[in-house]
């Protein structure tokens, strides 16, 4: 029953956001008359508007409002705009545009019987992928980073009634636009619905990819492009887990689509504004995402400069479209960096610490974090590394701490160069320039496949256009085409197997075939998180006002406010405080920490192990109130602690979560 309610809650959010997005786009005259693309644009824009509205509400500490109020407000304002501007004709009529350029092949050509069977098969495969993704997204919340901060920070904001800087969690100063979608889902229903919003982002991405490819080649190849995207193991993983990258990828793909529409019609700057807003939403999903937005703007400039100059048009006038898109994107992402600067004194906290500094962080921790983000994967960058990137990322994705993108891209991308004369001109140029600019920027920043998903998706569309051109080439022998189709079939089969492998357990939970707690214990333990049951017990036993210092960053399953002990080691506590347990306890008292929760196994880092010794074994006045083979909990005895009124026995927690009977 709970699953059905979650599904209904998800559908309500998705439908209201999409209808609101559709009304706002219609009011601005941004309709293509291609319903699949219009639906995807409305869905993506609706998510951005909902996220911005949620961010504003959280910033103003208005999370005590009922969540449905936001949906009513969003749809009400959208409806009003639609009525005012559509009927009043304040804007010009919707652009009568297609969605790009000439088809590379005859996109309207009728398929034979074999083609129809293949088409049905591909639709079936897409359906199976999406169904598995949805069922898995409906299962209880798992993951690593999602439990560390993507879901935890929104949960803490909800507990606190609004957006606030969390000094021990440096991620709370990052741009968090996509986490605002997760926040709204948790506010409206629960964290499972937040996972389902990622499924929705993947579904909408499929529509965009289908449209980007579909108008330029036969629909059957557009379905292949969609399947190639759905077979990327990072997409499979993220479609059911609350991470930010699939939603971010949707926003940049939509930004690209809006830009291609502008390139075709060039009658209104509103498509550029929409493209900029969506690109800004992408940049507000992760600090390093700004690099790909810069690549998109650079690609637009390159396309404009390559065109023949019209009479009397100055260079600034020609480059004005790039300025419009930049300004719109900047306006969306700027408030997040201002927030970071306001909280910490560093607009991109805690990066570039040597330049900006930053509150509650040390130079050593900043250097370590930068090293972790930029060098833990491929190490030092080199021109050779950049040139061999396509091979390396296909054959050895573990070096990039990433999943598998499959061999089709690397195998068939040369076809794009071979059949380049058949590719649609301005669209093709934009995609190629964007990819060419994005790859080096990505290589120099955050080298994970998940942060490159929009580019990978576009390259897959290009690859499919190349494959389509080859298969339509009457000069090429049948056996050669069969080999290329075989390459596709082998990988799409592997992709489906990957999805079954990743999602079978979670889907079984959703279908009631598996116990959710057993699933959670197994999934969480597999990622090194073995204290789910302990946390559940602490939720029952600890006072609701308890504030915890936890040694483990994955605090999502704790229903209490908490600070990360790792934050102390990173600079939240001074060097002197870290040497003296009494000084440290006085600092903890200032932060309102009442309990210490620490794992019994050796700590993950030297710094944490020192803290453990200092707090749990040192002179700290504490009272052991709970221990299991995995962790122990101590109550801090501050100076004003009244030992006469509370005996150690009365404070201890038994296995049922109540006071101990000893």
């Amino acid at each position: 029953m709970e699953q059905v309610i979650n599904l209904i809650a998800f559908l309500v959010i998705a439908i209201v956001a999409t209808i609101s997005g559709s009304w706002i786009l219609a009011a601005a005259g941004l309709k293509t008359r291609r319903w699949v693309l219009d639906f995807a644009l409305a869905g993506g824009a609706g998510l951005v508007f909902l996220a911005l509205l949620t961010a504003g509400t959280a910033f103003l500490h208005l999370l005590w409002l009922p969540p449905w109020f936001l949906l009513v407000l969003l749809s009400g304002v959208a409806f009003l705009l639609h009525r005012l501007f559509r009927e009043g004709e304040s804007f010009s009529r919707p652009d009568q545009v297609g969605h790009g350029c000439e088809p590379v092949l005859d996109a309207t050509a009728r398929s034979g019987t074999l083609g129809k069977i293949a088409g049905l098969l591909l639709v079936g495969l897409v359906t199976v992928h999406l169904l598995l993704n949805l069922l898995a997204a409906m299962a209880p919340v798992t993951g690593v980073d999602s439990l560390i901060y993507h879901l935890s920070i929104p949960k803490i904001y909800l507990l606190a009634g609004g957006m606030t800087y969390l000094p021990s969690m440096y991620q709370s100063a990052w741009p968090l636009l996509i986490q605002m979608i997760f926040l709204f889902a948790q506010w409206f229903q629960n964290a499972e619905v937040a996972q389902m919003m990622n499924f929705w982002a993947v579904f909408l991405s499929c529509l965009v990819i289908y449209e980007l490819a579909g108008g330029r080649t036969r629909r059957i190849f557009a379905l292949v492009a969609v399947l190639l995207y759905l077979s990327i193991s990072d997409v499979i993983y993220q479609s059911s887990i609350a991470l930010v990258d699939v939603a971010a990828a949707l926003f940049l793909l939509l930004a690209f689509a809006a830009l291609t529409i502008w390139l075709q019609a060039r009658q209104t700057t509103r498509w550029l504004v929409l493209s900029g807003v969506l690109a800004g939403a992408f940049a507000a999903g992760r600090i390093s995402n700004a690099g790909l937005v810069i690549a998109l703007i650079a690609a637009l400039i390159a396309v404009i400069l390559m065109e023949r100059r019209q009479d009397g048009q100055s260079l600034p006038a020609r480059l004005a479209p790039a300025a419009v898109i930049s300004a719109a994107a900047f306006l969306v992402v700027l408030p997040w960096h201002l927030r970071s600067w306001w909280y910490t004194g560093n607009p991109i906290y805690p990066y570039l610490y040597a330049f900006f500094g930053g509150l509650n962080f040390s130079a050593e921790a900043a250097a370590y974090l930068t090293q972790l983000s930029f060098f833990k994967t491929v190490g030092s960058r080199s021109l050779g590394g950049l040139l061999t990137l396509p091979w390396d990322i296909t054959m050895d994705p573990h070096r990039f701490r990433s999943g598998v993108i499959g061999p089709v891209l690397l195998t068939c991308l040369p076809l794009v160069a071979i059949y380049r004369r058949q590719m649609p001109s301005s669209w093709f140029r934009l995609a190629v320039f964007f990819s060419a600019a994005a790859l080096p920027i990505w290589y120099l920043t955050y080298v994970r496949v998940r942060s490159l998903l929009p580019v990978v998706a576009l390259l897959m569309v290009l690859t499919v256009l190349g494959i389509g051109a080859l298969l339509a080439d009457l000069q090429v022998a049948g056996w050669f085409k069969i080999i290329v189709v075989g390459v596709l079939v082998a990988w799409l089969g592997t992709g489906l197997l990957t999805n079954f492998y990743h999602h079978t357990s979670a889907a079984a939970v959703t279908l009631g075939l598996k116990n959710p707690n057993d699933y959670l214990r197994a999934s969480l333990t597999a990622t090194g998180f073995g204290w789910f049951d302990d946390f559940q017990l602490l939720n029952k036993a600890l006072p609701s006002q308890a504030r915890l210092l936890i040694w483990e960053d994955r605090g999502f399953y704790l229903d209490r406010e908490y600070l990360w002990a790792s934050g102390l080691a990173r600079g939240l506590a001074s060097f002197e405080e870290l040497q003296d347990s009494e000084r440290l306890v006085r600092r903890l008292e200032q932060w309102g920490v009442t309990h210490l929760v620490w794992g019994r196994a050796a700590s993950a880092s030297k710094e944490l192990e020192r803290l453990r010794q200092l707090l749990m074994e040192g002179k700290t006045p504490t009272l052991l109130i709970y221990q299991s083979p995995r962790l122990e909990v101590r109550k801090i005895l501050f100076r004003n602690y009244d030992t006469a009124s509370t005996s150690p026995e009365a404070e201890s927690i038994n296995r049922d979560g109540g006071p101990s009977a000893q």
Binding site: T394, H398, T411, P414, R421, Q422, I483, V484, L497, Y501
Partner: protein, 49 residues
């Protein structure tokens, strides 16, 4: 131009290099995939459980 290439379209002159490229990429990729996940795949198959 390779003698086996009889096509006249854009693929002219590229068929043999492309064929070699396709075969090499598939062998290296699936060999790597099998080395990494082969045991997992075998255990995951229904008839192995």
């Amino acid at each position: 131009m390779p003698s086996s290439d009889s096509s006249q379209g854009p693929l002219r002159g590229w068929k043999l290099p492309l064929l070699i490229w396709i075969v090499v990429v598939q062998i290296v990729f699936y060999h790597g995939l099998w080395s990494q996940y082969g045991q997992v795949i075998v255990e995951f198959l229904p008839w192995s459980r």
